[in-house]
C-alpha cells in the first residue's frame, strides 16, 4: 500500500489512541477506552505490514508470536496484587524495542550513504538512550516489586556522584557521535552506559515509591517511541509516543501529588537518607497501614452496592454530621443502599450520635442498632468508619488481654472493605491500639472528618 494511504490509516490509529486516553480517564468508560486503544494498535500494525517497502520475512511472525505469547501468558497469569511489576516489565521491553530500533537505524544509515542528518542522529541517540534507561530501569523495578532483589532503598556513599558521572559519560558519547565520529561502537557504548544508568537510577528507590518510578519510566518509553518516529519520519510514532510521554509525565506528577510528595523527593530522596513516609506506616502488631486519598475512597463508595456508615466521637468533634448526611444523599442518589450503624457507647454520652444525626435530619429508620448492624456487615461492600475507634476495635472480640475485651463491637472487619476516617493513628477513649487499622481490608483516610467527608461527597458526585 502507498505511504499516503498507510499514513491515513495511521491517522485512524492516532484518533483511536486519543479517544483511548480520554476514555481511560473515567471509571465508567475506562475499559472501552482500552479496547479502542487495542483496535487502533491493530490498525497501525496491519497498515505497517501492507506498507510498500516492508518485506514480510519468516522471522517477523515468529518474533511477533513469541513476544505475544510471552505478553499474553504473563498478563493472564499475574495475580491482581502483582500487576504493577507486570506493567514495569512490559514497559521495559517497549523501551528495549525502541533502543534496538535505534541501533538498527544507525547501523543502516551510518556507514555508506555518508553522514546522517543532524536531527535524525539526535533522534537515534535519544531513543537509544531513553529506551535503554527505560529498559534496565523497568527491569530493576520489576525485580524489586517481585522481591527478586530487596525492596528497600539500596544506597552507598557517593552514589549521586557515580550516577551523575555515568549519565554525563553517556551524553559525552552522544556528543562524540553528533560531532562527527559516527562509529557504531560509540552507540553500543552509549547503550551500555544507559543500561547501567537505568539500573543505578532505580536501585536506590524504595519499593513503596515504585509505582511513581514506573509511571516515569513509562513516560520515558513514550518519548523513546516518539524519537523513533522522528528517525523514521513517522507521525503515528511521534504522536502516540508523545501522547504517552506527555500524559505519562502528567500522571507521574499527579501520583506524586496524591502521595503528597514531590517527584524530586521520590526519585532522589533516598540518596543519602532513607525516605520516611509522612504518616506512620507501621501499626500496632507491626502490620502495615494503608492510607488512601479521598478520590480513591470516592471510587470505592461509588462502585459499592451497600455502604454502612459508622459514626463515632470523631464525627462529633469535627461536627461533621451535616456533611455525613449530605454524603449519604449523594450515595443514595447513585442507587447505593446506605445505613448507619450506631454503637451504644459511640461518642461520649448516651445517645450522642442520635443527637447529632437527628440535628442533621438523618431519617430514624436508617439508624441500626448494634445487633441489627452486625447482621448486615457480611453483605456490606464498604464500612465507612467516621471518627470511631474503640467501638470497632476487634480486640474486644479476640484479645482476652485487652481492657475492652468483652464489649460488643460493630464488626466492620466482616465487610468487604473498611475505610477509617480519622486525623492520625492516635488511639480513642480507651487509649489502646486498634488492629482494625492494619487489617488488609482496611484503608485509612487521614484528616479532619468534616473535610474528608466533604471531599468524599464531591468525589462521588464527580464520578
Amino acid at each position: 500500500m502507498g505511504t499516503n494511504a498507510v499514513n491515513l490509516l495511521y491517522l485512524v490509529t492516532i484518533v483511536c489512541f486519543v479517544l483511548a486516553l480520554k476514555f481511560l480517564s473515567s471509571p465508567a468508560t475506562a475499559r472501552r477506552g482500552n479496547w479502542i486503544g487495542a483496535f487502533g494498535m491493530t490498525v497501525a500494525i496491519v497498515a505497517t505490514l501492507v506498507k510498500s517497502g516492508v518485506h514480510i520475512s519468516w522471522e517477523m511472525p515468529v518474533a511477533a508470536a513469541i513476544g505475544s505469547a510471552f505478553g499474553l501468558v504473563g498478563a493472564r497469569r499475574v495475580k491482581m496484587t502483582a500487576m504493577p511489576q507486570m506493567v514495569a516489565l512490559f514497559n521495559g521491553v517497549g523501551g528495549g524495542a525502541a533502543a534496538l530500533v535505534a541501533l538498527a537505524e544507525f547501523h543502516e544509515l551510518a556507514p555508506p550513504p555518508g553522514r546522517i542528518q543532524g536531527d535524525i542522529s539526535v533522534s537515534i541517540l535519544l531513543s537509544a538512550l531513553i529506551g535503554s534507561i527505560s529498559f534496565s530501569g523497568s527491569l530493576i523495578a520489576f525485580a524489586k516489586l517481585q522481591e527478586l532483589i530487596k525492596g528497600r532503598p539500596i544506597t552507598y556513599p557517593g552514589q549521586k556522584l557515580v550516577n551523575a558521572a555515568v549519565f554525563l559519560g553517556c551524553l559525552g558519547l552522544g556528543a562524540a557521535i553528533l560531532t562527527g565520529s559516527e562509529k557504531q561502537w560509540l552507540l553500543w557504548a552509549l547503550i551500555a552506559g544507559a543500561l547501567v544508568f537505568g539500573v543505578m537510577f532505580v536501585l536506590p528507590i524504595g519499593g513503596a515509591d515504585m509505582p511513581v518510578v514506573i509511571s516515569l519510566l513509562n513516560a520515558f518509553t513514550g518519548l523513546a517511541a516518539a524519537a523513533t518516529g522522528f528517525e523514521l519520519s513517522n507521525n503515528v510514532l511521534i504522536v502516540s509516543g508523545m501522547l504517552v510521554g506527555a500524559s505519562g509525565t502528567m500522571l507521574t506528577l499527579l501520583m506524586g501529588r496524591a502521595m503528597n510528595r514531590s517527584i524530586a523527593n521520590v526519585l532522589f530522596g533516598a540518596f543519602g537518607q532513607v525516605s520516611a513516609g509522612d504518616v506512620a506506616t507501621a501499626g500496632a502488631g507491626g502490620g502495615t497501614v494503608r492510607s488512601a486519598t479521598a478520590d480513591d475512597v470516592a471510587v470505592m463508595l461509588a462502585y459499592a452496592s451497600k455502604v454502612v456508615i459508622v459514626p463515632g466521637y470523631g464525627m462529633a468533634v469535627a461536627q461533621a454530621q451535616h456533611d455525613v448526611h449530605a454524603l449519604a444523599d449523594v450515595l443514595e442518589a447513585k442507587g447505593i443502599e446506605v445505613t448507619y450503624a450506631i454503637h451504644p457507647v459511640a461518642g461520649r454520652m448516651p445517645g450522642h450520635m442520635n443527637v447529632l444525626l437527628a440535628e442533621a435530619n438523618v431519617p430514624y429508620p436508617q439508624l441500626k442498632e448494634l445487633d441489627e448492624a452486625n447482621a448486615e456487615f457480611s453483605r456490606t461492600d464498604v464500612s465507612l468508619v467516621i471518627g470511631a475507634n474503640d467501638v470497632v476495635n476487634p480486640d474486644a472480640r479476640n484479645n482476652h488481654g485487652s481492657p475492652i475485651y468483652g464489649m460488643p463491637i460493630l464488626n466492620v472487619d466482616q465487610s468487604q472493605a473498611t475505610v477509617v476516617l480519622k486525623r492520625s493513628m492516635a488511639p480513642g477513649f480507651a487509649g489502646i491500639e486498634n488492629p482494625l487499622f492494619v487489617d488488609p481490608k482496611t484503608v485509612m483516610l487521614f484528616g479532619d472528618a468534616k473535610e474528608s467527608v466533604a471531599k468524599l461527597a464531591a468525589g462521588v458526585k464527580a464520578l
Partner: protein, 359 residues
C-alpha cells in the same frame, strides 16, 4: 394622647399589654400611664417602665386603655364614654361583656378581630400568642410523657423516638410541630385546610391523611365541618391515635366551640402513659374528656386542658403582645391626638361596639 396600661386582675393572667421596651417605640405623641405593679408578674418592674419614659399612675384615666383580658364588670365601670379600649374581648363568645362596653359608650377594639391582612401582620396578637401556646404545648407534652421524645441508642438499650400527633396546624400547631421535632420526636400532623399539607412538610413533619378535607375562609381560618365530615374525621382519627405517644390539639373555628376530634373511646384506646395536650381547651377542647383549666388522668392517659398558656411564659408573651398593641395604637394617633379613622379596614374590622355606639 395618653395610653393606659392597667394591671391584670385575673389571678392566672401574668401578661401585661405593654412592656417597657415598647414604650419608647410609641413615639413622642403618646404618654404612657402604667398601673403600679402591672408588669411585675411578667418580669417588668415599675422602675423599668419609668426608665423607658412611662409614668406610674391611673391607667383608666387615659384616652386609650390597652389590656390583655376582657375587663371585668368592675373594670368596665372605670371606663368612660368615648374612651378607646384594646384587649382580647372574645367578641364572638362573650356577648355580655361586649354589650356592657357598648352600653358604657366605650370604643372597644378586639385584638381577636383584627383582619388578617398583610398590613395587619404586626398587630396580629392571635398569631403572636398562638406561637407561645404552640411552643409551650409541645414542652408540656414532653414534660408529662413518662418517656423520652428523642431516639437514644445507649448501652442500656435503644429508646425509640416518641411519636407525636398535632391536630390542627395553624399558627400554634405549626409551632408545636417545630418544637416537638426539635426535641427529636417523629411528628405527624393533620388539618382540614388543604394548604396545610405543604406547610407541615416544610417543617420536616409528615401530613397524616385522614381523608377529610375542608375549606379555607378568607383570613385563612377553617370553615366548620359538616356533621358527617366530623363523624368521619373522628372515626378515622380513633383508628390512628393509639399509635401515638402524645397528641397536641389546636383545632379551632373562630366563634364556634372547638371541634371534637378525639372521642372518649379514642382516649381509652391509647397506651397508658400517653399524653394529650389540648390547646383548644379554652373553647371547649378538641378532646371530649378535656376539662378546661385542669389536668386529668383518664385510663392512664394524661389530658392537659390548661388554658391561657401564653400567661405561663409571660415575659416573651407580653413582649410580642406589646408590639402588636403598639402597632394597633399607632393607628389611633395622629399628631399626638386620638383620632379614630373608621375608614381604616383594620380599625373598623376590629371594632366590636361601633354598631351599638352609632345606633
Amino acid at each position: 394622647m395618653r395610653l393606659g396600661i392597667p394591671k391584670e386582675t385575673s389571678s392566672d393572667e401574668r401578661r401585661v399589654a405593654l412592656v417597657p421596651e415598647t414604650v419608647a417605640r410609641l413615639g413622642d405623641g403618646v404618654d404612657v400611664l402604667v398601673e403600679a405593679g402591672a408588669g411585675d408578674a411578667a418580669g417588668f418592674p415599675d422602675a423599668a417602665y419609668t426608665e423607658a419614659g412611662a409614668q406610674i399612675g391611673d391607667p383608666w384615666s387615659a384616652d386609650v386603655v390597652a389590656k390583655v383580658a376582657s375587663p371585668t364588670p368592675d373594670e368596665t365601670a372605670k371606663l368612660r364614654e368615648g374612651q378607646v379600649l384594646i384587649a382580647f374581648l372574645q367578641p364572638l363568645t362573650d356577648t355580655a361583656g361586649v354589650e356592657r362596653l357598648a352600653a358604657a359608650g366605650v370604643h372597644a377594639f378586639a385584638l381577636e378581630s383584627i383582619p388578617r391582612i398583610t398590613r395587619a401582620q404586626s398587630m396580629d396578637a392571635l398569631s403572636s400568642q398562638a406561637t407561645v401556646s404552640g411552643y409551650k404545648g409541645a414542652l408540656i407534652a414532653a414534660d408529662r410523657l413518662p418517656r423520652f421524645l428523642p431516639m437514644l441508642m445507649t448501652a442500656a438499650g435503644t429508646i425509640p423516638p416518641a411519636k407525636v400527633l398535632v391536630l390542627g396546624a395553624g399558627v400554634a400547631g405549626l409551632q408545636a410541630i417545630a418544637t416537638a421535632r426539635r426535641l427529636g420526636a417523629v411528628v405527624s400532623a393533620f388539618d382540614v385546610r388543604p394548604a396545610v399539607r405543604e406547610q407541615v412538610e416544610s417543617l420536616g413533619a409528615t401530613f397524616l391523611d385522614v381523608g377529610v378535607s375542608g375549606e379555607e375562609t378568607e383570613g385563612g381560618y377553617a370553615r366548620e365541618l359538616t356533621p358527617e365530615q366530623q363523624a368521619a374525621q373522628q372515626a378515622e382519627l380513633q383508628k390512628r391515635i393509639p399509635t401515638f405517644d402524645a397528641v397536641i390539639t389546636t383545632a379551632a373555628i373562630p366563634g364556634r366551640p372547638a371541634p371534637k376530634l378525639i372521642t372518649a373511646e379514642a382516649v381509652r384506646a391509647m397506651r397508658p402513659g400517653s399524653v394529650i395536650v389540648d390547646l383548644a381547651a379554652e373553647s371547649g377542647g378538641n378532646c371530649e374528656l378535656t376539662e378546661p383549666g385542669a389536668e386529668i388522668v383518664e385510663s392512664g392517659v394524661t389530658i392537659v386542658g390548661t388554658t391561657n398558656l401564653p400567661s405561663t411564659m409571660p415575659t416573651h408573651a407580653s413582649q410580642l403582645l406589646s408590639r402588636n398593641v403598639a402597632s394597633l395604637v399607632g393607628l389611633f394617633v395622629s399628631d399626638g391626638q386620638l383620632v379614630i379613622d373608621w375608614d381604616d379596614e383594620i380599625i373598623s374590622g376590629s371594632s366590636v361596639t361601633r354598631r351599638e355606639v352609632s345606633a
